[in-house]
């Protein structure tokens, strides 16, 4: 397991913008897509564990999740495959809280650790409910990435950042995951508010839809998560095109 925060801070110190592609685990071609992304300049990779009721996801990731579930993907099967990926960059799972709650906090944490996963993002587990999971994750040496939203009042942000490990996920817009024609103003506004209160890397996700928008977000933020735009390419064209896309975004970010 690679320590997530150490790795991302090292990127930042080298002046490199952090690029985190998201791939739905269990979707046909997902392991090849993770390898392609790692080989094309990703600094960490988010692996989505599909859930029956993904309330934070828009149509593309919903479809990918449903296809993976229809093909029989389970948290156990995805983590088993992840164990043999060994791509040289940290892997982080994105999963809804019932996936954690069902096996139990400690058991899920040790499953992640055994699979070589560095951290977890749990989008329906806000700060006030996060205690028991964070305790188990800390004990297992896993980074729990916290989300910060544009709706948060100023006093809330430092508390969210204080609990964040690895990076702070700066939610780019009011809404669910999916591609948008332009980066909304709130994306950079929230990233700037977060940068002002934390030293933990600030990574913008949700609604960052192409290389140009990634560059725009990274003028303020330390990095970006690219979700729906990656998964759509995997659904439509397969893993090779994911690699090409990640390379394209990498080149653009290296010019910032």
């Amino acid at each position: 397991m690679i320590a997530l925060e150490e790795h991302l801070r090292a990127c930042r110190e080298r002046g490199r913008k952090i690029l985190v592609p998201y791939v739905t685990g269990g979707l046909s071609g997902w392991e090849a897509a993770v390898r392609a992304a790692a080989a094309s300049g990703a600094d960490a990779i988010e692996i989505g564990i599909p859930f029956s009721d993904p309330v934070m996801d828009g149509p593309v990731i919903q479809e990918a999740s449903q296809r993976a579930l229809d093909d029989g993907a389970t948290p156990v099967s995805i983590l088993q495959s992840a164990r043999s990926l060994d791509v040289g960059v940290p892997l982080v799972v994105m999963c809804y809280y019932n996936t954690v709650h069902h096996p139990g906090h400690q058991r899920f944490a040790s499953q992640l650790k055994d699979a070589g996963i560095s951290g977890a993002i749990v989008p329906d587990l806000p700060l006030e409910e996060s205690g028991p999971w964070c305790e188990a994750a800390d004990a297992a040496g896993l980074a729990t990435v916290m989300l910060a939203a544009p709706t948060a009042p100023d006093e809330r942000l430092p508390r969210v950042c204080a609990r964040a490990r690895g990076f702070v996920y700066s939610v780019g817009l009011l809404g669910v995951t999916g591609e948008r024609s332009a980066l909304v103003h709130t994306a950079t506004a929230l990233a700037a508010r977060l940068k002002a209160v934390t030293d933990v890397p600030v990574v913008v996700g949700v609604g960052v839809s192409n290389a140009e928008q990634a560059v725009e977000a990274c003028r303020v933020a330390d990095g970006v998560v690219m979700g729906a735009s990656v998964v759509r390419r995997l659904l439509e064209h397969g893993p090779d095109v994911v690699g090409d896309y990640v390379s394209e975004v990498r080149r653009a970010l290296d010019g910032v």
């Binding site: 009721d53 019932n98 709650h101 006030e128 948060a152 669910v176």
Partner: protein
């Protein structure tokens, strides 16, 4: 019934498991509700609209024929006689008045059978709010009449094609809408479920059912009922009537559909913002519920029901679709009342358990009328 804890818990159930984006909205809603509920002006406003628009108080009807046949005294609380035909209007009028007070211009709602959607569309029309209702595509098919009613009332209805295409997926889609529109929009959730403060707030808006019934029982019979029975999907009509009797010695019975028995067959889980009993597979994927009644087609249950079950204060048996279809016809023929298929679950349990209830007084919440189900019953029974 008491307030949940500061963290929104009833025992170990409840909570606020929502995306970070919605946390401030839930906190604001909790503060606004707390303040409004303590304000005599708001209470007076709600009381008058319940009385002069919804038709409260709802009456009690004793079923003499059916009672004689079953060997017990069967008393109905007639929520089916409210405006829009079910108990749902109590909660919706409360929430829309609150939404207006909070300065919201728009509401979103989920609906299963269409009862909550129709009530939401009605209140939105009354109060001049924009209204969008999410409804599973399967339910849009089987409740076409209610879909048209909502449109007549000026609401936009969106069919949800994801997942099982029923109530749980309608909730997901309404939550996704709310995540994107939270600044202008209130999510008018239709049951005692979801993140804190909804389970508590919706219970308080339905408490009027139980409070009225307790007084009416005392006035007419001079005593509390022996048993209080209601159907349970999310559990709002049940919690409403239970809340009037939880501090009595009455037995409280919430009847679930066999294909959606969250308490009976589920385990604690987290979905739709709450920790509660939930039908799920070995990996925590939420299972699809299956019931003849769209309004009960829900794999979870409100957290306060999970709590009442865990402390043994209420019990949650289930009945099969065929028992429900029998009960539906029985009530129509013997009492001249066509119940909603949801409420026929409560009656089906009473019929089945009648031998052990001889001579008892049973109060059943008739939470909705069955007009919406007539088309579906025509298909099931043949004309």
């Amino acid at each position: 019934m008491s307030e949940p804890s500061e963290a929104g818990r009833f025992g170990e159930f409840g909570g606020r498991f929502v995306p970070e984006t919605l946390v401030p909205a839930c906190q604001e809603l909790e503060a606004s509700f707390r303040e409004a509920w303590a304000d005599p002006i708001f209470r007076g406003e709600l009381d008058s609209v319940l009385r002069e628009y919804a038709g409260r108080p709802s009456i009690l009807t004793e079923c003499h024929q059916l009672g004689a046949r079953l060997g017990l005294r069967l008393v109905l609380k007639r929520e089916d006689l409210n405006h829009t035909g079910s108990h749902k209007i109590n909660n919706v009028l409360g929430q829309t008045l609150l939404a207006k007070r909070m300065g919201k211009k728009r509401i979103v709602a989920e609906t299963g059978a269409g009862q909550h959607g129709v009530a939401s569309a009605t209140a939105a029309a009354l109060l001049g709010l924009e209204c969008k209702v999410y409804m599973g595509a399967v339910d849009v098919e089987r409740q076409a009449l209610n879909v048209f009613r909502m449109k007549l009332l000026g609401a936009e209805v969106e069919a949800v094609h994801s997942g099982s295409r029923t109530l749980k997926d309608a909730v997901n889609e309404a939550m996704r809408d709310w995540v994107a529109t939270v600044e202008s929009t209130h999510y008018c959730l239709g049951s005692v479920m979801g993140p804190h403060p909804y389970p508590w707030m919706v219970r308080e808006f339905h408490r009027v059912i139980g409070d009225e019934a307790r007084q009416q029982m005392a006035d007419r019979y001079g005593s509390d009922p022996d048993v209080v029975v209601a159907c349970v999907g999310g559990g709002s009509n049940a919690i409403g009537i239970f809340s009037g009797f939880v501090d009595t010695s009455a037995r409280l019975v919430g009847v679930e559909p066999a294909g959606g028995a969250a308490v009976g067959r589920g385990q604690p889980g987290v979905v739709h913002g709450m920790r509660s009993y939930l039908m799920q597979d070995e990996y925590g994927q939420v299972l699809e519920a299956h019931s003849v009644s769209a309004g009960l087609d829900y794999p979870g249950v409100g957290p306060e029901h999970s709590y009442l079950a865990s402390i043994g204060r209420a019990e949650y048996p289930s009945v099969s679709d065929s028992e429900v279809i029998e009960a539906f016809q029985l009530m129509a023929r013997t009492e001249g009342i066509i119940p909603a298929l949801e409420c026929a679950h409560a009656l089906a349990w009473i019929v089945r358990e009648a031998p052990s209830l001889q001579g008892r007084t049973v109060l059943m919440n008739l939470s909705g009328r069955g007009d919406k189900d007539v088309g579906q019953m025509m298909e099931i029974l043949g004309s």
